[in-house]
């Protein structure tokens, strides 16, 4: 049993759930308490100790029955047993009309034979199920298996067979009955295949090694990433953002200035007989505030999803974040990012502002900001612009940008293009540059990491 649980946990890990050693130990402890007789209680033991995110629940619910399920395949019915000799002869004759493979399948359906383990293994080898460890592919695999077993052709063949039998003079009622039973058997086979594929994938998941390191991913440009890489990058970005938070906290402690904190001062100076030698200040004023403009136009599309993920994570960590996205005009996206999981949030934003043929216009976007949201920006805010500065020859509105930059504490520009391309074509990067405190190139994760690090220094 323990081994089964351990396998289950590694399958969970392969499914993207983070389960620590301490948590699996807790699971065992919980099971000691509750026993394994009551399946529901057992499930809850595992669930409450292993799953700590509501978003991980679906994968748990999917995997649990596969590992601890009482899988029952619907019964197969043997039709050939209660055939009259006459009917049997007719069927045997009719079957000769079909090609070999179809004949085998039809006979199988008549006899109600289920697929043997050996056959299943062979099939899974054939369709590449052995290498699959992703649940999303389960339906696809099952369909491939059905195709290999010629399910659709068999469906037609059943009809043909029955027509032949009708010609041979077997009565209609009997034929209808047989058709029904054969169809039922086929359905059972389908069920068996579904169960086999999901079990097989679960086994594969439990055997798969934990994800290999992020080597190489760090240096790969954002627009050369596959979906899976993106997934892992997203996780990495999240981790990045939370490590950021601790760093911010440290900096806050070091950088104390502002109002006198009377309580802390008295406490600190008790040792000096309440003579205020060591003055303490409140540190609230130094909390970071971010104003982020993110370009999600076509030219930025390859990396905009990641950038939005980063913004999402930053907003998660830093309360006073106001995020805006722009293409030809500005949209306030903070509400979209709140109270949603990261994937959904990013998708919402990208859906709301689909790429199109309109012009990127940072100038107008800046004007929008100036008119509507200027109160969000003050001398404590850090202004971050994520974009390539390609403005489609629109007015860059340097006056507004200069003004905003002047009002904010710092202005940082994150640009995915290398400096050699700045100023080429419709890029206004060099014109914006004088107003920025720093411009950082971020075309891969390594650069993003350094950029984020510099951002809050």
């Amino acid at each position: 049993m323990e081994e089964r649980i351990v396998r289950f946990i590694s399958a969970l890990r392969a499914g993207g759930v983070r389960v620590s050693l301490a948590e699996s130990a807790d699971a065992m402890l919980a099971i000691d308490q509750m026993g394994i007789k009551n399946r529901d209680a057992f499930r809850l033991c595992l669930k409450s100790t292993l799953i700590k995110n509501a978003s991980d629940m679906p994968i748990f619910d999917e995997l649990f029955p596969l590992f601890f399920g009482t899988s029952t395949i619907p019964p197969f019915l043997n039709i050939s047993n209660d055939l009259t000799p006459d009917e049997a002869r007719s069927i045997a004759e009719a079957l000769r009309q079909f090609k070999e493979q179809l004949r085998d399948m039809l006979e199988r359906l008549l006899k109600g034979d289920q697929l043997q383990p050996g056959e299943l293994d062979q099939l899974s080898e054939m369709i590449g199920l052995n290498q699959t460890n992703d649940f999303r592919l389960q339906e696809l695999m099952a369909q491939r298996m059905e195709k290999a077993l010629k399910f659709r052709e068999v469906q037609e063949a059943i009809q043909e067979l029955m027509d032949l039998l009708a010609e041979m003079g077997i009565n209609r009622e009997r034929i209808d009955q047989m058709t029904k039973l054969m169809r039922a058997n086929q359905q059972s086979l389908r069920e068996q295949i579904r169960q086999y594929t999901s079990n097989r994938i679960a086994e594969n998941m439990s055997e798969s090694r934990p994800e290999e390191g992020l080597n190489g991913l760090f240096e790969r440009p954002f627009n050369a990433l596959s979906d899976k890489d993106l997934d892992r990058l997203r996780k990495e970005v999240q981790r990045l953002a939370s490590s950021l938070r601790t760093r911010i906290a440290l900096r806050q402690k070091k950088a104390k200035s502002g109002q006198l904190d009377a309580k802390a001062t008295i406490r600190a100076n008790l040792k000096h007989g309440s003579v205020p030698i060591d003055i303490r200040h409140k540190d609230r004023t130094l909390k970071p505030r971010l104003i982020i403009f993110c370009d999600i136009s076509t030219s930025m599309r390859p990396c905009s999803e990641l950038m939005l993920s980063l913004i999402y994570s930053m907003q998660d960590q830093i309360n006073k974040t106001h995020a805006f996205a722009f293409i030809d005009h500005l949209e306030f996206i903070t509400p979209d990012l709140n109270n949603k999981d990261i994937r959904g949030a990013v998708a919402t934003v990208l859906r709301r502002m689909p790429p199109g043929h309109y012009n990127t216009d940072l100038g107008l976007s800046l004007e929008n900001f100036f008119d509507q949201f200027l109160d969000k920006l003050d001398n404590r805010s850090t202004l971050i612009v994520v974009g390539d500065g390609r403005n489609n020859y629109n007015d860059p509105r340097l006056d507004i940008f200069g003004n905003l930059s002047h009002r904010s504490r710092r202005t940082v520009w994150l640009n995915p293009e290398p400096p050699t391309l700045w100023g080429s074509g419709d890029s206004d990067m060099l014109r914006y540059a004088p107003y920025c405190d720093s411009i950082l190139q971020v075309s891969n994760l390594a650069e993003l990491t350094t950029a984020v690090d510099r951002l809050l220094s």
Binding site: R18, S20, A22, E23, D26, L29, A30, Q33, M34, D40, A41, L44, C45, K47, S48, T49, I51, K52, N53, A54, M57, Q238, S242, R245, T246, A249, K263, I266, R267, L270, S274, R284, D316, Q317, N319, N338, N339
Partner: protein
């Protein structure tokens, strides 16, 4: 350090005890609550606002006859507000009042050294439990009686506070430099709640059992309404709960939760409503929905479907509710 007294012997017992305290728990809640008691691990409950996370802690305190100590988290909460603080004003006041006595003590001393020694000997007077202001966490640890510690809306507190909490929750002891280490008399039953406005740290999650409380099924919610608002007629209660469930299917800014259903049910009782028609819906809907845009949207939808909503059970939407 004693083990927490195990008041419950089975999840069923938890369920019954909670039921007696006006909290209808499903198998999941009862079992995980029981596990939390057995393993001595904090219970982290997450879910939408108003589904009864805080209520669970209150009910379990009442059911086990423990004191409930509540720590409401907010941004900027720190140790002095959560754990303990010296009462400086009181200390200063005492030094003033005791000046004469101090003079007396010091007066007879021959030299400075001796005076200092005497003061040092009296030091304990000023750094004693007398001047220690106990905040919720310390109170829960030092309490003579077993307690339930409710840490409410932990996601609102800063990340640093979360880290600090880890230490307290794993050892149930606190070190006060002037007094030494204070250990728990009884390990409290800890319930943390979170509305998931931000991700909690892995470390904190790892130390807790996790319980997600979602919206209840129609039957469960009906049972809750019947229990808490017994004056509402069964037929009306059923209609009301069904409408709430249909509203939860709509994409609203803030979906109505159980607490809002209860408020609504109470409103219907006090308005002496006999049946739910468009008019009463129109006037009372604002109890259920708290955003103007939600209200308008819900009104449109309810008006459109009010007939089949209330009468036609075969409506595909109506069937959707029962799952």
């Amino acid at each position: 350090m004693g083990n927490p007294p195990s008041f419950f012997k089975s999840p069923q017992e938890v369920k019954n005890a909670l039921g007696k305290n006006q909290y209808i728990a499903n198998e999941e809640i009862a079992t995980i609550m029981f596990l939390s008691q057995q393993l001595g691990k904090p219970l982290l409950t997450e879910g939408p606002a108003g589904v009864g996370k805080t209520e669970l802690a209150k009910a379990i305190a009442a059911a086990t006859n423990r004191d409930l100590i509540r720590l409401q988290c907010y941004e900027g909460l720190d140790e002095t507000k959560a754990l303990y603080e010296w009462e400086y004003a009181k200390q200063l006041l005492y030094t003033q009042l005791l000046r004469d006595k101090l003079q007396e003590t010091l007066g007879t001393s021959r030299d400075l050294g001796e005076a200092a020694d005497r003061i040092a000997a009296e030091e304990d007077v000023f750094f004693s439990m007398r001047f220690l202001l106990q905040r919720p966490l310390l109170k829960a640890i030092l309490s003579e009686r077993p307690t339930v510690l409710l840490i409410d809306e932990i996601d609102r507190a800063d990340a640093e506070f979360e880290a600090f909490l880890l230490e307290v929750l794993s050892d149930f002891q606190v070190s006060v430099p002037e007094l030494g280490t204070l250990s728990a008399v009884h390990i409290p039953l800890v319930v943390l709640t979170s509305n998931n406005t931000r991700e909690l740290s892995e470390a904190l999650k790892r130390r807790c059992l996790y319980l997600f409380i979602g919206y209840p099924t129609i039957d469960q919610e009906l049972a809750v309404v019947r229990l808490k608002v017994p004056d509402l007629s069964p037929k009306l209660a059923k209609q009301a709960v069904e409408i709430v469930h249909s509203l939860r299917k709509v994409d609203l800014r803030k979906a109505p939760s159980i607490s809002e259903t209860l408020d609504w049910a109470k409103a219907l009782v006090s308005l002496n409503v006999k049946n739910l028609n468009n008019e009463t819906l129109e006037t009372t809907l604002s109890v259920l929905l708290k955003h103007e845009s939600d209200l308008q949207r819900a009104r449109r939808i309810l008006k459109r479907s009010s007939k089949d909503l209330l009468i036609d059970e075969d409506d595909p939407r109506a069937r959707g509710w029962s799952n």
